[in-house]
């Protein structure tokens, strides 16, 4: 029994192999693709998506889902921008307020889901509508931020060879992935998340604080989504109520590609980062190609995702059946 090829690691392994293969293939096809710059851009450009996906991973691991993350990004982005520009709130405080708001929404959703056993899909769908409504209520115009400290954050980056660099957002992404990994692996909270995803009734009977843990998962997701909004605001130095539309689907796709099962219980935080990279590579490759019309772009993304999922499924079933056969090798 190979622990290394456990149900948790295998998909991550497959995803990384395929991701590297894709990167190399695109590298041979397009000039300037196989560069550090393109590689590090993956993290800088997808930092907000990655941060949102990390939060969402916790929720999905419990067997739930959070559809509100995309609107939350838009909501926190416009909120942050108006706070800084119109209310003259200092950026650190404004970020704090926005994160608190994300926390509040997550708390409310988590409470409804955990306390009243409402279905996560519906509660967070309502959250999606609500956050977008609030965002549009705050301002329908996009809001430019012009604040020296904020500018400083936005333009901070670590220069790396080949004209590449890692932005503040990318560093934040790595930090969030690190914290997420720590929480899920090394804290009892993380184990409780997995246990609930494995079997909620059992977890309850085993004395796992199911409600608290569930609420915790949605709070993390809410905070991560709000932080994603902050990073998005850094990325564009402006707030926009409609940003993040449909982002929840990208985030779900990233989490799933990263090997987390939507029914909960299996998966990992670093896997989701990998999923984000896969999406980023596909997108970058399509841009480098630059010949696809609008509709072919959609079709090609769909087909690539399909191929990816089928490949993942195929390798997984092959590996699992080999594992099942393994004991017979001894006799």
């Amino acid at each position: 029994m190979n622990r290394f090829l456990s149900q948790e690691r295998l998909p991550v392994l497959i995803t990384s192999v395929v991701a590297i293969a894709m990167f190399l293939i695109a590298g041979f096809k397009y000039d300037n693709f196989l560069t550090l710059r393109v590689f590090f851009n993956l993290f800088s450009d997808n930092a907000f998506l990655g941060i949102v996906a990390v939060g969402l991973t916790f929720v999905i691991l419990t067997g739930g889902i959070d559809l509100s993350v995309g609107s939350m990004v838009g909501c926190s982005s416009i909120m942050l921008a108006t706070l800084i520009r119109d209310s003259q709130v200092a950026p650190p405080l404004a970020v704090g307020i926005v994160l608190a708001f994300g926390c509040l929404i997550g708390l409310t959703q988590g409470f409804l889901i955990a306390r009243f056993e409402l279905q996560p899909f519906l509660v967070t769908l309502a959250g999606l509508f609500l956050c977008r409504g609030i965002a549009l209520r705050i301002s329908q115009q996009s809001v430019q931020i012009d604040h020296p400290l904020f500018d400083q954050w936005a333009s901070f980056s670590i220069a790396l060879p080949q004209k590449s660099s890692l932005s503040f957002a990318a560093l934040l992404l790595f930090l969030v992935v690190g914290i997420g990994w720590y929480l899920s692996r090394l804290r009892p909270f993380g184990r409780a998340i997995y246990a609930i995803g494995g079997n909620r009734q059992s977890a309850e009977l085993m004395g796992v604080p199911v409600r608290k843990t569930l609420i915790g998962a949605y709070v993390i997701s809410g905070i991560c989504a709000a932080l994603g909004g902050v990073v998005f605001t850094l990325y564009t130095q402006s707030g926009n109520a409609v940003s993040g539309t449909g982002l929840e689907l990208d985030a779900i796709a990233a989490v799933v590609i990263g090997g987390t099962l939507l029914r909960g219980g299996y998966g990992s935080v670093p896997g989701s980062l990998l999923g984000v990279c896969v999406l980023g590579i596909v997108q970058t490759a399509i841009t480098f190609d630059g010949t696809l019309s609008s509709w072919w772009t959609k079709i090609v993304i769909g087909v690539l995702l399909l191929g990816f999922l089928l490949l993942q499924r195929w390798i997984e079933s092959a590996a699992l059946s080999r594992r099942a056969l393994a004991p017979s090798g001894t006799n």
């Binding site: 692996r185 409780a192 079997n199 059992s202 009977l205 085993m206």
Partner: protein, 500 residues
């Protein structure tokens, strides 16, 4: 009873579920240094009492005192802080976590960085040792057998400091050695001053280990007795509410096999990485018993014969034609399987008892010929009364049935289609004595009508009682076949245990 305050004292515990008055003012006392058996037929309210006691369900009335102090646990964790540790009926573990993680879940040892995985490993090791389970602590619980899971659950319950230990049918999947090991542990704990509540349907075990017995029936307490003062016969009649002799009428003496031609033949049948070398044939009117240790491959054999898993080696012939079965084709050719893990693979939670019982008949009848509701009621009612399923209202959600009654409903599901061959994997697990005898009598009656069975049970006496022949499995291979004439416990145990 005793003048000192009891360790645990329940008074007037009352619990109603929609439509069921599950507990009617139950009084119960548990002393220190006592193993107290809680007995009763399926649906008597044993599990419910335990769940109320440990905060899973809120009581509608009554009080709980531990060492004279009134408590009201709101969840199992709180119960643990009051010193009550519980193993619930039906294994309740996280299948996606490792054995070690399951044992320490919710109370992980920590160091500055978080969970101290080293300490987890050590604690797991000692916990597993206590129940005598040798299993890689890193394996996922979902990957180990139900028996192993049951032991893991017990190890987990023993991992905390508790004054009261509650075990709801902990031995339903264990073999004799494991039970012995468990009992040794329980006795030691008793000596250390613990009070233990023990629910089981195995009367031998009750008499082996318990000091006192409390009998429940229909949510009422019938009485509490000193074990050594209560004859078996009396106990059984307390449990079922009628005299015990009436049970034995279906017992069989001779065992004539009516069939002639074998209609199912398996030769060198098996699946790579799973059971192998299956060689036996089944005639109509025969019961083939499968005996073996835990994990010897009985369940896998049944799954293979029913076509859930597919054989890769050897032949499988039905009516002299080689067959590649899927559950669907198996059913259409008169083969049925009552699965071992009824919660995960058997019942349809959320659907009614009636629907759960007619679904196979409906599959057989084809989808466009719906069995009308009236007909469904008729079929379901027939088997509800045949199997004495409680409560008899078949419109209720099957989830609300007690464990044993769920098992009866599943049996009824198969009996309703009158299969030629029914594979019964642990059909008597978690079933009270009355029902056990009923099921065995039913098997015998149907056998005489020309039906065949494969009968799997961890209780050797049951296997010997019903089988025409016994196929012994060891290490996932069929090693011998014992005829009915030669079958007795020693012979079968010898065959199971033989070293080659």
């Amino acid at each position: 009873m005793s003048e000192s305050t009891p360790l645990l004292h329940l008074q007037g515990i009352d619990k109603r579920f929609p439509g069921v008055h599950a507990l009617k003012g139950i009084d119960f006392e548990l002393e220190t240094e006592e193993i107290h058996a809680l007995l009763g037929e399926n649906g008597a309210g044993k599990s419910t009492l335990i769940k109320v006691l440990t905060g899973v369900h809120a009581a509608d009335g009554g009080s709980i005192c531990i060492e004279g102090r009134q408590i009201a646990p709101r969840n199992p964790n709180e119960a643990v802080t009051f010193g009550i540790s519980t193993v619930y009926q039906e294994v309740n573990l996280a299948p996606n976590l490792s054995v070690a993680e399951n044992i320490c879940l919710g109370r992980e040892p920590r160091n500055v960085f978080g969970i101290d995985w080293r300490a987890v490993g050590e604690r797991t090791k000692s916990a597993l040792n206590r129940v005598g389970l040798r299993v890689d602590p890193q394996r996922l619980v979902g990957d180990i057998s139900i028996a192993e899971q049951q032991l893991v659950a017990i190890a987990r319950a023993l991992d905390v400091e508790a004054k009261v230990l509650i075990l709801d049918e902990p031995t339903s999947s264990l073999d004799q050695d494991e039970v012995a090991q468990l009992f040794a542990t329980l006795r030691r704990l008793r000596e250390e001053g613990m009070g233990i509540i023990f629910v089981t349907h195995f009367l031998d075990q009750v008499y082996e280990i318990s000091d006192r017995i409390t009998v429940l029936r229909n949510g009422e307490r019938i009485g509490t007795f000193q074990t050594d003062e209560l004859p078996r016969i009396e106990l059984v009649s307390h449990m079922i509410g009628r005299s015990a002799e009436s049970l034995e009428h279906g017992a069989m003496a001779s065992h004539e096999v009516s069939g002639h031609e074998p209609f199912l033949t398996v030769t060198n049948f098996g699946k790579r990485g799973s059971v192998q070398d299956l060689n036996f044939e089944i005639r109509s009117g025969e019961v083939i018993g499968l005996a073996g240790l835990l994990g010897s491959g009985r369940t896998e054999t049944a799954r293979l014969l029913f076509g859930i898993d597919h054989g890769t080696e050897g032949g499988y012939q039905l009516d002299n034609r080689s067959a590649h079965l899927t559950p669907r084709s198996a059913i259409s050719r008169g083969v049925g399987l009552n699965v071992e893990d009824r919660k995960a693979e058997g019942i349809f939670p959320g659907l009614s008892i009636r629907e759960n019982m007619v679904v196979v008949a409906q599959v057989k009848r084809r989808w466009w010929q719906r069995i009308s509701t009236a007909e469904q009621k008729q079929v379901a009612d027939e088997y509800v009364s045949a199997l004495q399923l409680q409560p008899p209202n078949t419109d209720r959600n099957i989830e609300n049935l007690s464990g044993g009654n769920q098992q009866k409903a599943l049996l009824g599901r198969w009996l309703a289609v009158e299969p030629r061959l029914l594979l019964l994997d642990e059909p008597t697990r978690g079933i009270d004595i009355g029902a056990k005898f009923e099921i065995m009598a039913l098997v015998e009656r149907l056998r005489l009508e020309g039906k065949s069975f494969v009968f799997i049970s961890s209780e050797l006496s049951e296997v010997i009682r019903v089988s025409s022949r016994i196929v012994v499995l060891r290490d996932r291979r069929a090693v011998t076949t014992i005829s009915r004439a030669e079958a007795n416990e020693e012979a079968v145990v010898a065959a199971i245990a033989k070293h080659e």
